[in-house]
């Protein structure tokens, strides 16, 4: 087996700043108040993910899930420890793609794909597929700054999922899409997973995590709280009341391929 993601004692320190201007800082200093504080957004986290595994990343808001994904996709570097990956990484971080608001959808597709490591020819070849999937019509040639949040995430997901990647990161991708689009996304992600791509899936929806993943990692205030079988993980974060009886029955996500509307209902 080949290790796809190796996180070793990774820690990412963030600085909270209470004061912004010189005046505020001086006043705070004179009064003996704190100007800034640090905290570990990701705190000494260690795990390994094998190639082809699909892992659900769960935890409350602010538990460090997005920061961990940023460490994995290389946007951030750990302050301590190490994060190593193998192959090309694609995906969505914190519900949206890194788009440039002044660029049109079309230009953003090319730029985004280029940053994700695709060549011009590769992008051109997949362009129609991406546009079809996003299904945003004429808006393709208007600046993405004018998009609705739904359109924005549709296009972002469409680009990310069509990159020929080895690791796919999906961070609350389904939070803003409508029902038909969610369904399409789930199907596409299952396809991606079944093609042997390593999948890291962040979601608060227990149903879809149970469907997609065989393993769950739970973060608690930046620390690794749980790492094990999906259903136990969901139970650990106490989301198991959302699960339908068939989810509880299925041992792993690979067992089920179809996505029904009721499962998506648990998404919100």
């Amino acid at each position: 087996m080949v290790t796809s993601i190796k996180v070793e004692n990774a820690t990412k320190v963030f600085t909270k700043r209470y004061h912004k201007t010189f005046k505020q800082m001086t006043v705070a200093k004179l009064r003996g108040n704190k100007i800034s504080d640090t905290f570990n957004a990701v705190d000494d986290v260690t795990f390994e993910i094998q190639q082809g595994e699909s892992v659900g990343l769960m935890g409350l808001n602010g538990s460090g899930k997005s920061t961990l994904l940023k460490l994995i996709n290389g946007t951030m570097r750990p302050d301590m420890g190490s994060v190593l990956t193998r192959g090309r990484i694609a995906g969505l971080i914190a519900t949206g793609a890194g788009f440039h608001p002044q660029l049109t959808g079309r230009e953003n597709v090319y730029l985004n794909a280029a940053i994700l490591g695709m060549t011009e020819r590769e992008t051109a070849r997949k362009f129609d597929e991406i546009v079809d999937f996003a299904d945003i019509g004429d808006f393709l040639d208007t600046p993405v700054g004018t998009y609705s949040s739904g359109m924005y995430s549709r296009l972002g997901f469409a680009v990310a999922v069509h990159v020929d990647s080895d690791i796919f990161l999906a961070d609350e991708v389904l939070a803003v899409g409508d029902k038909p689009f969610k369904k399409k996304c789930m199907q596409k992600m299952q396809e991606v997973r079944d093609s042997g791509v390593t999948l890291v899936y962040v979601s608060h929806a227990a149903g879809s995590v149970a469907k997609m993943c065989e393993r769950v990692i739970v973060l608690e205030k930046g620390k690794l709280g749980f790492d094990g079988p999906a259903l136990d993980g969901i139970r650990y974060v106490k989301y198991d009341d959302e699960l339908s009886p068939e989810d509880r029955g299925s041992s792993s996500a690979a067992a089920s391929m179809s996505v029904t509307d009721s499962e998506l209902g648990a998404e919100i």
Binding site: M1, V2, M76, L84, G87, G98, L111, A114, E120
Partner: protein
Amino acid sequence: MTETTGSTGTQALVDRHRLADVPLASPSAHQGLLEVFRRRYVLRLLVKREVQGRYEGSFLGFLWSYINPLSQFFIYWFFMGKILGASHGFENYPVHMFAGLIIVHFFTETFGAGTRSLVGNKGLIAKMSVPREMFPVATMLVSLWHVAPQILILIGVGIMEGWQPDMVGMMCAVVAVLIAMILGTALALLFSTANVFFRDFGSFVGIINNYVRFAVPMLYPFSLVRDNLPTWVTHLYLCDPVAIACLLFQRAFWVGTTADPTRSAAETLPDHLGLWTLGNLIAAVLILVVAQRVFQKFENKVPERL
């Protein structure tokens, strides 16, 4: 896991992702400026975007790349040259001044726009793994792109004044652009990170740029500095890569328009210009190396502070 099923279909998929011989590596870019040139396609897209975006929504579009320098030229020519009398008794003052203006404008643009480049590309930097040196470098290339039409105007004016091009002069022009590129990129790297932490630096760069315009022999000839100030001040004045770039551009485009090029070069330009050039070029490269080091030290904190 798919590997364990062993059927032929999944086997093909496993082969597709056969990564055993691909080493585990850090997912973030860390080769600095080299990485930028390794990923030329992304760089090209960013530059294209900036070039298209600069005059977006304007009726005159690309014409503004001509109008801006022309209007600056007019202001300096009229107010400095005619009213303040800088052009009295000075041969082809407009060409002398415009040559300096182009290279200085290129430097200040690179410096100013480069300083804002990280903050301006927040959306990408916060979520995508892209070498962040890319953004200051891209703004430098965009400014470079706008130098071309200005040089065309300069050559046009020069030809009307009877400009005689020469090999050494052309080399001087290339080296001048090179110096401005290197120093501009270095300072853009330093100040773009600083600007992420405190936006004050953006305003500060505006002030520096104002000084730069007057601290180089653009509006006045170098001979005024040499003749009126002590030697050590003159030497200090020449320890400025932008001043040297300015002088090189004048050597390239102005000297050839004068009646006696050899004499006007000797009278107006400093002695040992070649040595000064070499020294300042080396200094600019060293500053770039230091800037890159500093950038790498701080860029890790950039995404969270944006």
